[in-house]
């Protein structure tokens, strides 16, 4: 179980990216973080495995506080969190198999990593996972030969090879066309069920979030302004997230404004 409490991130420039963010992700649920550009979605995800250093609050994964760790312990903590990137971030000049097996680097000595001397069971698992993500037979292709969708599949396989306790996905579909995006979301859902792990996805397509997530967290200007199941994400809630409207808007005038703004929000979010 991942438990984030009162997480804050203030950059040295004084810019406040996150403020007092708390959430829990457990079981095998799929949680989506949505919000406009610059709301702190990426910062949030990246703070969890400390690719970005949070300045306040704590992150606890299965009883272990990740925030204070360093060195070997931090590596072990990162190993338990699979990460999927918007730009895939495969090592372009290595083969698909090397990229998938790079998910096991946290279990390997550098000498063995250098010699590509992986554990036998990991190689077997790599084949299985490649098959599951639909990339069987492409083991020896170089990553730079693949299309975006294929790269993301390899990226997912790499994360699964880590034997993670949670998968963090930072805008996994933003660089993909709508159809491929759905395939990737389907795959993430499937992995979550099969591996019995939660997936925390930060996403800007509200449509996809509503379709796939069991719970949605709305961020605006670094703060949580919405949290609930997809059904509760009505136009009011979207206004709060994307337009900064007050949570309750009782007057007729406000509702009229809402009517106008929804369509604008829709354009912005390809909804």
């Amino acid at each position: 179980m991942l438990s984030v409490s009162e997480l804050g991130k203030t950059y040295p420039s004084g810019e406040r990216a996150l403020h007092d963010v708390s959430m829990e992700v457990a079981g095998k649920e799929i949680v989506s973080i949505i919000g406009p550009s610059g709301a702190g979605k990426s910062t949030m995800i990246r703070c969890i495995n400390r690719l970005t250093e949070p300045t306040e609050g704590s992150i606890v994964l299965d009883g272990r506080d990740v925030t204070g760790l360093s060195g070997k312990e931090l590596q072990t903590a990162r190993r338990e969190m699979g990460m999927i990137f918007q730009e895939f971030n495969l090592v372009e000049r290595l083969t698909v198999m090397e990229n998938v097996l790079s998910g096991t680097l946290g279990y390997l000595s550098t000498w063995n990593a250098f010699r590509r001397n992986y554990q036998g069971e990991d190689v077997e698992r790599a084949y299985e996972v490649l098959d599951r993500v639909g990339m069987a037979g492409r083991e020896n292709a170089r990553a730079d030969e693949l299309s975006g969708g294929q790269r993301q599949r390899v990226g997912i396989a790499r994360a699964v090879l880590q034997r993670p306790k949670i998968i963090l996905a930072d805008e996994p579909t933003s660089a993909l066309d709508p159809e491929t995006s759905r395939a990737v979301m389907d795959l993430l859902t499937e992995i979550s069920r099969d591996e019995d792990i939660p997936v925390l996805i930060n996403i800007h397509e509200v449509e996809l979030a509503r379709e796939y997530a069991e719970r949605i967290v709305g961020l605006r200007e670094g703060e949580v302004v919405f949290e609930g199941p997809p059904e509760e994400l009505d136009s009011d809630a979207r206004n709060v997230i994307y337009r900064g409207a007050e949570p309750a808007s009782p007057t007729v005038v406000a509702q009229e404004k809402t009517g106008v703004s929804i369509s604008e929000v829709d354009k912005e979010t390809s909804f």
Binding site: N49, L51, K72, Q75, T76, A77, R78, R79, E80, M81, M83, F85, E87, N89, L90, V91, E92, R93, L94, S102, G103, T104, L105, G106, L108, S109, T110, A113, F114, G155, R158, Q162
Partner: protein
């Protein structure tokens, strides 16, 4: 319809033009002053054509029989270049690592890396050779070390620039798997700079073949030793043979390195 006031256009306005004229004038003055300061004896320049014709007369025809004697030194020259380049690459890897802004540990290591690069590059190969001949005595070992130390800066500088241009996302992804630091380097950084590394190695080897031909002048091995000796003996026909041989291996190394570099990209 005739244009009454044709619009004029000039690239530079009056002020800029004046500055440019002044810059040209200044360049000419600097050239003239340097010329004067050097105190060149023009009578030698006047006799140069005869001197050249005379020298060529003594050189021609090249001493073909001597060519068998220089085969060994030629091979030694190439070997000095190979070992020197290899050594330089190995030593330049850590220097490049600390000399690249994105991989260096802190400000001090960065400055140290840059310092090593500058020192290595600012000392000519002949000076390095002199130093090593004093320390290790005359011979190929001094030549290898001279070539290596001269090359560290060149290789490390280009490598460091390459490291600064890698895609940080790939490195980050490897770090996110929980890989230990050295593994991040091996998996995330090395594949990205590998083609560059091969390119630099062959290019530098090509340069080093040329460098290895002259370090023999100060006793650091290679074909330069023979060249120096034959010049001292005034055996100009043998000198001509050596010069042709040097031209040959330099051409060979240039073609080979160009071919290899083309292959890896």
């Amino acid at each position: 319809m005739a244009v009454e006031n044709p619009r004029s256009w000039r690239k530079y306005d009056l002020r800029t033009r004046l500055v440019r004229y002044l810059a040209v004038l200044l360049t000419l003055v600097v050239g003239a002053v340097s010329w004067q300061a050097l105190n060149i004896h023009y009578q030698f320049a006047l006799t140069a054509p005869w001197a050249l014709a005379d020298l060529f007369g003594r050189m021609y025809p090249p001493d073909v029989g001597y060519s068998t004697e220089i085969a060994g030194p030629l091979v030694e020259t190439i070997n000095i270049a190979i070992l020197g380049t290899g050594l330089a690459i190995i030593m330049s890897l850590p220097v490049a690592y600390i000399g690249a802004e994105n991989t260096t540990f802190n400000r001090y290591t960065y400055v140290l890396g840059k310092l090593i690069i500058v020192v290595s590059r600012s000392v000519n190969v002949i000076v390095w050779a002199l130093i090593f001949v004093v320390v290790f005595g005359a011979g190929a070992l001094s030549g290898v070390l001279a070539v290596a130390f001269r090359s560290i800066g060149f290789c490390a500088k280009l490598l460091a620039e390459g490291i600064e241009e890698i895609d940080p996302g790939q490195v980050e992804a490897i770090r996110a798997t929980g890989a230990p630091g050295p593994s991040v380097l091996v998996y995330g950084v090395v594949p990205q700079i590998k083609p560059l590394l091969i390119g630099i190695t062959t290019y530098r080897w090509d340069i080093n073949v040329r460098e290895a031909t002259i370090i023999g002048f100060v006793g650091a091995g290679g074909i330069g030793v023979q060249l120096q000796t034959q010049v001292n003996f005034l055996d100009w026909r043998a000198v001509f043979t050596i010069l042709i041989a040097i031209l040959g291996i330099v051409l060979f190394s240039e073609v080979l390195s160009a071919y290899l570099r083309k292959k890896v990209t």
